[in-house]
Symmetry: C2
Subunit: 194 residues, 2 copies
């Protein structure tokens, strides 16, 4: 059974993220994954935090453009975490991860994902935002999470699909999947009519 | 490594739902699953829809109370879908599932889960609500979903962790996991201090 609207399309996801792969596979769209495109993930310090994820998604698309073929759509994305208008990066080590999670505990933060879809003819880029409300976590709980789950490869030091997502997130406004790394609903909508 | 607050506790989840099991396992709490407790899932027709899930969760707890031991906490739950103040049940067949999804398409509906936690000494029951906003789905998309995923065991004819959840849900207000069948964040909070 073929999904309506996707008979002649194929998406090339250029991403090393296993979560983005999982989400894209959930869309049942013909898919190819390319994991090893090197990209310099720096951005101008003058850039508004709002504009960083789509800036980086476009940079990733530029780096992977050689993969583009007729009837294929290249997809790239970047996710950042913003607390009090400041970007929360990936942690350097366990101490840094703990201090990030202490800041997120009991607070709302924003997760922004920038997405670029590019074919030989056109490009669509957009940013999706979700608000995440963490409950107040004790230092014993934060220590438990950091020691057991090692969230060092994750912006904001957490994965919403891990223990802390089950136990520590009070509510979300917006897309849950955006917090995991890709606003698949909007991606699907654009791809359908690409 | 033991989760702080759960050194001497064990949860007995009386539920046949693989989704509830998955969510509870995510909490890292000592857990036992009992899948085969027969329960009559009828409720008085005069009951306010808001009160149905916790009524059924309590009925399930009554049916499983024989499992209770010292230091263990029995957990039961029931989830319903409400659209325009009416309960949307599990579908009878593919035609019924399609007509339910046509009603959900382009609309907001509410997902309510009632939860009961019971020990030899006390009981805590509560209801959690999430709002789910579906995008407008075509009949071809609805046919695709029903034919491929057979959502006949699901209230409202859909699973948020399946294709339709990725492609068709615009936003959620509240807990994503509640839509999957258990508001684990609140369960965790209560269990910690049970």
């Amino acid at each position: 059974m073929v999904l309506p609207g996707f008979q002649d399309k194929k998406v090339v996801l250029a991403s090393a993220s296993p979560r983005r792969e999982l989400l894209m596979r959930g869309l049942d769209i013909p898919l190819e994954i390319v994991r090893d495109i090197p990209v310099d993930e720096s951005y101008p310090g003058t850039l508004d935090p709002q504009d960083i994820p789509v800036y980086l998604a476009r940079k990733k698309a530029d780096a992977a453009s050689g993969l583009l073929k007729e009837n294929s759509i290249l997809l790239t994305a970047d996710t950042i975490v913003i607390l009090d208008d400041k970007v929360i990066e990936k942690p350097r080590d366990a101490t840094h991860a703990r201090s990030m999670l202490i800041r997120l505990s009991g607070n709302m933060h924003r997760v922004l994902t920038g997405v670029c879809m590019r074919s030989v003819e056109k490009e669509i880029c957009f940013t999706a935002e979700s608000k995440v409300y963490f409950s107040k976590l004790s230092t014993a709980e934060i220590d438990y999470y950091v020691e057991k789950y090692h969230p060092f490869d994750k912006a904001g030091s957490y994965g919403i699909q891990e223990w802390i997502g089950y136990a520590g997130v009070e509510r979300i406004e917006g897309s849950f999947f955006n917090v995991m790394g890709l606003p698949v609903h909007r991606v699907y909508k654009y791809l359908k009519e690409f």
